[in-house]
Symmetry: C2
Subunit: 488 residues, 2 copies
């Protein structure tokens, strides 16, 4: 095999810079690193091992946290009969335009079209209605891990606007509004923690405006991110559905006084979109940068062979790899015929958090040269202290990634008191503009028409709202500060 | 709330006996216990918490074992374009009659129909063909955990013949036939172990006949079970696809000598059907019997309240429940207004492996009265020895379930040398008839036509084949002993 042939087998490096062409960089970094691939179905992607691994880790920790809080897992059918999907009108109008419809089975036409679930409220609540009779049957706090299809007609983007994605969908029913409302902080707390501790991502929690809320909800809450190109993107969400669905689906129960009441419901989700936000946020011009807890390979050990020293170097590299393999996900790359530099680039592209170089100097010194992916920091760690040393480097790297992302987010949140100011920031800097708002849908609509920015959410942190704050558009007394941004 | 109302809320007991009307018993035991429910889509079921829990436990252990052996997880799209599905002709003919077709997205007709995956060979291998260039890229051993749809037109039966089911689908590509063949024992070994150690199910491993093999395979292997009604049912399977798919999908690589070769492939799966076999095998006329490792609730603690002793009994019951809760999945049922007998029936119906009764005698003796679900055996265990005691009871129960199932299987495997004998056993006793077979498809076909029994598999254990064995149908020299049975 010639060097040329070998190079054909490998992904080339990135041909654009993140800061120059973010969108092209994003798709290159995802595909050339082997994280994902496009598939034969437009808008649906292939999760290769590193991507599916990261998602599986996220599901594990979210699943454990939800269960600890009393949530139970279930699995409902993939298909939803059209008559069910139509039952809650607002919900149906929201989802109908992007539903994939099954019309035939084998050579037979179905009597009724079946929607491939875009979300499962309707099919789940048809069952809840059968199961819930008395206050003793409540609460029901069920969750599913599954795949959903929403046929995006805009330019599909891997993870970000995907026609199929993976998620959890939690669907609860409570006897009282108060109990239902209490679930919000529990769920958003889990999402915020997992984003921070596993994906190294900050986010802005808040409530959606009336115009932007979920189709069928009474109140929607979201965690919003800011992408490197300055556009906002919605992350995990939580919806108080009030009694909207319970009335549409007749989910009622006999309360302790013997009267019938409708249940109070919530729904919530975290999706594979977060993998896209993670990649976009941390990646650089050398490739992916994956936070250590989600990295499929956490450490790669590369022997640096010099003539005459092959055996001792290879042996020690293997020893280091075996030792670390007890604690971490480690790969030893002792392939011959590839230069160390070639290997370095490959694992940088793949975002492996730590590269260990083992040469004659490391052998004689019984140590390892450890290089951090995110900042190229080099550290010599004694063989006997490898586990602690690598753990510290992971911790520091995770912290650094989060802090860098947090700093970027903070820098990207601007404030405006005047509409001209808001408009100028949206046009020139993008990011989020936090501005006082009177709460009226008409001001919200006009701002969107004139700037392209919508309200991503009304942040929980309302410290920006003053006694005398006036709506950035109409000048009336402001009820909130809201976050305006152009958004994915 | 009156006692009547309360009873309406609860599942009633079973109204038929397993040995008298197995099919009705099976659906009653699944639905009345709250294990599953029917859904608004005919043939697709709802996995309620206990069912999904059992499946999640199975996936965890199979997933860990596959990974230990070098298999990696991926995720491919739910939809497969029709032109891809058609590529391997035999495969397409096998699956086409039961494919659910997506024809519309929103209000638009799609240019090409999309199959909801009945299995993912075709979409995965289109990618393999891009990814595999050189022998260095091999082997690829990828696996997916997902949902698939096969539109059964026969009477759908929960888990057994479901229009949607959950499974793992492993799809490997190797450089040589030998390597590919080696994977068989690794995979079937995992399946057999998990069936035995978690589901308490025995099975008969063997090779499928030419007529019964997977659409597109060179050789199919299966683990077969016998259901309580004497019908055989196919369990997990493994297929050597040879080069059938690699030729259809152009999966070729440059070998070490610089020549192009087609890859050698395997596929394998374990599905949620096994939950059905588990329920059918172990359940009895009181309800489900779930092996302890897969039971959502492993121990239920029930205080037996007598006037004047309420406080001490409740307190000790809670103490027992809390202590056991450190090690097991425990539920304390201290609801008032339900008799102990009512609660006993409820947890028997749900298949909880151990019930603990706590009354005044247990309080004063600092002990727990533990009752095994499968055989009603009662054991008093001292508070200080609870953990060990329950663990022993679990082990004994698991062993007893497996042994009972194994004994039933053994008793249901008959042998026949003459066709009349084979026919009579199939008609009168059902089960499996192991009989010598010449290997010809025409004898196989005629046996099926005349008895309704097909070859479930040719068991790996060929000790029944003698030097002078003659085909049970044509009398020619026998090549194998094959297992004939009426089958689900």
């Amino acid at each position: 095999m010639t060097e040329n042939e070998r190079n054909e087998d490998k992904s080339e490096g990135l041909t654009v810079k993140k800061e120059e062409d973010f969108s092209e960089w994003y798709t290159q970094v995802l595909t050339k690193s082997g994280f994902i691939d496009y598939s034969e179905v437009s808008g649906m992607l292939v999760f290769r091992p590193a991507a599916y691994f990261a998602w599986q880790e996220i599901t594990k920790v979210v699943d454990a946290e939800l269960k600890k809080g009393g949530v139970e897992n279930v699995y409902f059918p993939l298909f939803i009969p059209e008559r069910l999907l139509e039952k809650e009108k607002v919900h149906f109008e929201g989802f109908n335009p992007e539903v994939a419809w099954v019309t035939h089975a084998g050579n037979s036409k179905l009597e009724e079209r079946l929607a491939v679930r875009p979300t499962s409220e309707t099919i789940m609540y048809a069952s809840y209605s059968k199961w819930i009779r008395s206050w003793r049957d409540l609460p029901i706090r069920y969750n599913q891990w599954n795949n959903v299809v929403r046929w995006e007609f805009r330019h599909p983007t891997p993870f970000i606007r995907s026609r199929e994605f993976l998620w959890n969908e939690g669907h609860s029913a409570f006897a009282t509004r108060e109990e239902a409302l209490k679930e919000r902080d529990f769920v958003l707390g889990i999402y915020l923690r997992v984003l921070k501790d596993y994906l190294a991502l900050p986010g802005i929690p808040g409530v959606k405006s009336e115009s932007e809320k979920f189709a069928g909800a009474e109140n929607s809450y979201s965690i919003e991110h800011i992408m490197p190109d300055g556009y906002a993107i919605q992350g995990p969400d939580f919806h108080n559905d009030g009694q909207n669905f319970s009335k549409a689906f007749d989910i009622k129960f006999i309360n302790k006084n013997g009267n019938y009441e409708y249940a109070w419901q919530n729904t919530y989700a975290i999706t594979t979109r977060e993998l896209g936000v993670m990649i976009a946020t941390h990646g650089d011009n050398k490739g992916l940068v994956i936070p250590p807890k989600l990295a499929y390979v956490q450490v790669v050990v590369i022997p640096i062979i010099k003539k005459g020293e092959e055996e001792s170097v290879k042996k020690f590299a293997k020893q280091v790899s075996d030792e670390l393999g007890k604690w971490f996900r480690v790969k030893l790359d002792d392939r011959e015929g590839y230069t160390p530099g070639y290997k370095f680039s490959e694992y940088e592209l793949k975002g492996v958090p730590i590269r260990i170089e083992i040469g004659p100097k490391e052998v004689s010194g019984k140590k390892a040269l450890c290089v951090r992916r995110d900042n190229n920091e080099k550290r010599e760690i004694a063989y006997t202290e490898l586990r602690q040393g690598i753990e510290s480097m992971f911790d520091e790297m995770h912290k650094a990634l989060y802090e860098r992302a947090y700093e970027f987010m903070t820098k990207s949140i601007h404030t405006a008191k005047e509409f001209t100011e808001l408009k100028e920031i949206i046009e020139k800097k993008k990011g989020i503009v936090q501005a006082p708002w009177c709460g009226s849908a008409s001001c919200e609509k006009k701002i969107k028409e004139e700037t392209g920015a919508k309200i991503t959410n009304i942040p929980f942190d309302q410290s920006g709202l003053k006694e005398d704050s006036k709506c950035v558009y109409c000048g009336a007394k402001a009820k909130y500060v809201a976050n305006f941004a152009k958004s994915y």
